[in-house]
């Protein structure tokens, strides 16, 4: 897997975790009541880690990522069954079936998001 893609995936997962804790009442309630999490502390920790990881991206990747993240909820999305799960438009067959997928950084031709190809 491309090293920058690995970082991007981790950032997106952390942002998902932060969003779920912050904005999803059910998740917030479960984390507080079942797992005794202090939500505000957890959000601060996640924010700090996200900043750290964003700063570790290479400048060109970071620039593109920041541009995407500024306008879209998800800057990195999976491709499942040949479909970009950001805009739900089919990606070229050659890309979806590439044996070395995820070894390069790839973008959706339609929405521009970073792509992660998954079975």
């Amino acid at each position: 897997m491309h090293s920058q893609l690995e970082i991007l995936l981790e950032i997106q997962d952390l942002k998902t975790q932060r969003r779920e804790l912050d904005k999803t009442p059910g998740e917030r309630q479960v984390e507080e009541e079942v797992f005794n999490i202090t939500i505000d502390d957890a959000l601060d920790q996640l924010e700090e880690k996200i900043d750290e990881m964003e700063n570790s991206l290479e400048p060109t990747v970071r620039s593109r990522y920041k541009r995407l993240a500024g306008s879209r909820l998800r800057a990195i999305v999976p491709v499942i069954g040949g479909t970009c799960y950001g805009c739900f438009v089919s990606v070229p067959t050659a890309l979806a079936s590439d044996a070395d997928r995820n070894e390069e950084l790839r973008f959706c031709d339609n929405c521009g998001r970073f792509l992660y190809l998954i079975d």
Binding site: D13, F35, N36, A42, Q45, N102, I118
Partner: protein, 150 residues
């Protein structure tokens, strides 16, 4: 849907070999059949979640969980460590039963929270801890889930 429907016998390991929380997390992740890089990313995410607060909910049960892009559907696994392992659980007691739950960020059927809740509910059943200690094979684990009908 009932909890039983999310498990298959190949994601149940009743003799977990890991001696530490980290080793056991890796062992359970390996049951999901992901590629090496995906396993590594998932492990990091689960560790980060644990850093926010232990998922050891007491009575010898832990439910490590997270959402991650490396899976394309909800995945679960179960591991039992008869001797127990330090999970920094809220009751500070060793953990014997570990339920792993991982889901993608976008789920059409939105099963993640309900499954998390069902596992927590299952864990609170008065006889579950003792029953889990007694089972001899993954089939009996599946039968226990079915019997509880949660």
């Amino acid at each position: 849907m009932e909890l039983r429907e999310f498990f298959t016998e190949n994601v149940v390991k009743l003799d977990v070999e890991g001696e530490t929380k980290d080793e056991i997390l890796k062992e359970l992740i390996s049951l999901l059949g992901l590629d090496e890089k995906s396993e590594s990313i998932l492990y990091k995410m689960l560790k980060r979640r644990e850093n926010l607060g232990s998922t050891g909910i007491g009575k010898g049960i832990a439910i490590p969980h997270c959402r991650s892009l490396v899976v394309n559907r909800l995945r679960v696994a179960f591991g039992r460590k008869k001797d127990g392992v330090d999970f920094r659980a809220i009751d500070e007691q060793p953990v014997h039963n570990i339920f792993l739950i991982v889901a993608p960020p976008l789920e059409v059927s939105n099963q993640y929270l309900p499954v998390l809740g069902k596992i927590a509910q299952f864990s609170k059943e008065p006889d579950v801890t003792a029953r889990l200690a007694e089972i001899d094979n993954s089939g009996e684990f599946m039968a226990l889930l079915e019997e509880k009908g949660i």
